[in-house]
């Protein structure tokens, strides 16, 4: 594997994202004789699930923070020895263009010369997901971090956001995060989960078909039990307290629609809060190309793919969380299946089985953890909904009730919510809910990340994109 850009090379396949899906795809594609560019914004391989300490940290036992570390170590080793794969690290792709070939536009840094393009015959989108945030009073205080962010900072930098960390929100990532934070020495006064987990009970046959998933969950549960961590179900953090840093949270019981039940509030002291409500597929590049999407059971937009992982756009494949959040094993299987389709080879039976089982499991999880319709009950009028532009819920509500806005797009134009640096990734789902419009519509982001103007200007025919 070469670690550099080769602007002259015309690749058979460009893979965007070097997480489980992208790694498995690049490995399988090279095995089938394809010339592959594996492009990732990050410096290393692994994506979210296999995020690991920087090599200079000299971790002798990185597997302590991972399930399935061996799978990653083997993939990494095979890719390092694969002459057909170029790893283009530190390349953030901000647009994909279809001509005779695909042309990817990427940025590697702030200077005009940090622009790069990659040319390929076929394109696989394996860009993963980002966390869904539902705002509550105090969520902008320092020490409040995302559950996946706490996990990522721990896995890569071996650091904790505090000593006493409440873990809250909804979804399986909470258990994974709490389990590693506790193992790394943090006190976890509580895991606060909004659902009752009852949804799982209805899907027993699906659970039985996914023993590996069960084992992983059981391992987290055992570790949490060992550390004396309590799981509070049907509850939510309805306020974070503090002035310059979080000092505690108020937790309340929720009814079945996620409405806080008055009189059930309890205060828990902490110096950090790790919070998240599931994941949202990161699909901007494909949405800008007009790819069809589906709405998942938990109200997010994912790419629609066929049995061969092909999107509705010719020459564009997708694998992993971009097709709906389902975890690392599913991502690995879909990566392999996509590579076979690109190479025109029949799909391997093992991966077909894994995909079928894990997709069913994912649908079950999504339905179980879908936010209840009344969560907005804990959002006070002066809670900032948009962190970047500091737009309070009051402004969003007024845009709806007084100015007649009926969807997120109109609210955005009237209030600037979602117009800041993160391009609505943090507030998008919340704004959609508060505006009463449809949820699960894909957001439009013509540029998938901020691009220095000097680099934008170099792209032919893009004057409409540069301000």
């Amino acid at each position: 594997m070469v670690n550099s850009t080769s602007e002259q090379v015309r690749y058979d396949l460009a893979v965007i994202g070097a997480g489980p899906a992208g790694l498995a795809a690049a490995d399988a594609a090279a095995g089938l004789g394809l010339r592959v560019a594996l492009v990732d914004a990050g410096a290393g391989l692994g994506g979210q699930y296999y995020r690991h300490p920087a090599p200079e940290l000299g971790a002798a036992r990185p597997d302590k923070l991972h399930h399935g570390w061996r799978t990653f170590a083997e993939l990494r080793e095979r890719l390092a020895a694969a002459p057909l794969v170029d790893h283009l690290a530190g390349h953030h792709v901000w647009a994909a263009e279809r001509g005779e070939d695909w042309i990817l536009h990427a940025t590697r840094g702030p200077e005009a010369a940090d622009r790069a393009t990659v040319t390929a015959r076929c394109l696989l989108l394996a860009t993963g997901a980002y966390e869904r945030q539902l705002p509550f009073p105090g969520w902008t205080l320092p020490g409040v971090v995302t559950a996946g962010g706490a996990q990522a900072m721990l896995k890569s930098g071996l650091v904790l956001p505090g000593r006493r960390i409440v873990v809250a929100g909804s979804g399986p990532l909470l258990l994974a995060a709490a389990s590693s934070l506790a193992a790394a020495g943090a006190r976890i006064p509580a895991i606060v989960e909004a659902t009752a987990y009852l949804g799982y009970a209805r899907g027993l046959p699906v659970l039985a078909g996914n023993p590996a998933k069960l084992a992983e969950g059981a391992e987290h549960a055992a570790r949490l039990l060992r550390h004396g961590v309590r799981l509070r179900r049907r509850s939510a953090v309805v306020e974070a307290h503090g002035t310059d840093r979080i000092t505690g949270v108020t937790v309340a019981r929720l009814d079945a629609r996620w409405k806080p039940v008055p009189g059930t509030e309890r205060r828990i002291d902490c110096d950090a809060l790790a919070v998240g409500h599931g994941l949202v597929p990161q699909i901007d590049l494909a949405v800008e190309l007009g790819a069809d999407t589906v709405t998942t059971a938990d109200g997010t937009a994912a790419l629609r793919v066929d049995a061969q992982q092909r999107t509705s756009v010719p020459g564009l494949w997708a694998a992993g969380e971009t097709c709906g959040v389902g975890g690392a094993d599913l991502a690995l299987a879909e990566g392999v299946l996509a590579a076979h389709s690109v190479a025109g080879k029949p799909a391997p039976a093992r991966e077909l089985t894994v995909r079928r089982r894990r997709r069913a499991f994912a649908a079950l999880m999504a339905a179980a953890h879908a936010p209840g319709p009344d969560w907005t009950g804990w959002v006070t009028d002066d809670t900032d909904v948009c962190r970047c532009e500091e737009v309070p819920a009051r402004a969003v509500r007024e845009a709806v009730t007084e100015l007649g806005a009926a969807d997120a797009r109109t609210v955005k134009l009237l209030t600037r919510a979602g117009m800041g640096w993160c391009q609505g990734r943090m507030c998008g789902p919340a704004v959609a809910c508060l505006s009463g419009g449809p949820v699960g519509r894909p957001d439009s982001r013509p540029l998938s990340c901020p691009v220095p103007l000097a680099q934008l200007a170099q792209r032919d025919g893009t004057t409409e994109l540069s301000e």
Binding site: Y130, P142, M153, G157, V159, A184, G185
Partner: protein, 102 residues
């Protein structure tokens, strides 16, 4: 138990960065945000409208809450930048929309 002990880390010698002029040590390979967390610092910017403190939120480059000025260049995401010896991180007030930087 701490995170380094958990994974049996034996990092090389620490680097020193400057946070608003104060020396803070950073382990090799850690991001600037990680080095500040390890030092107990969780805020390094104030917001444009409310003047409220902010630090790292998403930890993976997506929220842009962790912006600060690094070696004179404003609006840098500290969760993405590896700490290098002598890096000067300065608290940032507000954020300039003038220059769209990565």
């Amino acid at each position: 138990m701490d995170p380094l002990e958990l994974v049996g880390a034996e990092p090389g010698p620490a680097r020193t960065i400057l946070f608003d002029g104060r020396p803070v040590s950073a382990l090799p390979g850690q991001t600037l945000a990680a080095a500040l967390w390890a030092d107990g610092v969780v805020a390094w910017r104030t917001t444009r409208v409310g003047g409220r403190p902010r630090g790292a939120f998403c930890g993976i480059g997506q929220c842009f809450d962790c912006l600060a000025t690094v070696n004179g260049r404003p609006n840098q995401r500290l969760c993405l930048l590896t700490a290098e010896h002598g890096d000067a991180v300065t608290t940032q007030e507000g954020h300039g929309h003038g220059e769209l930087d990565v």
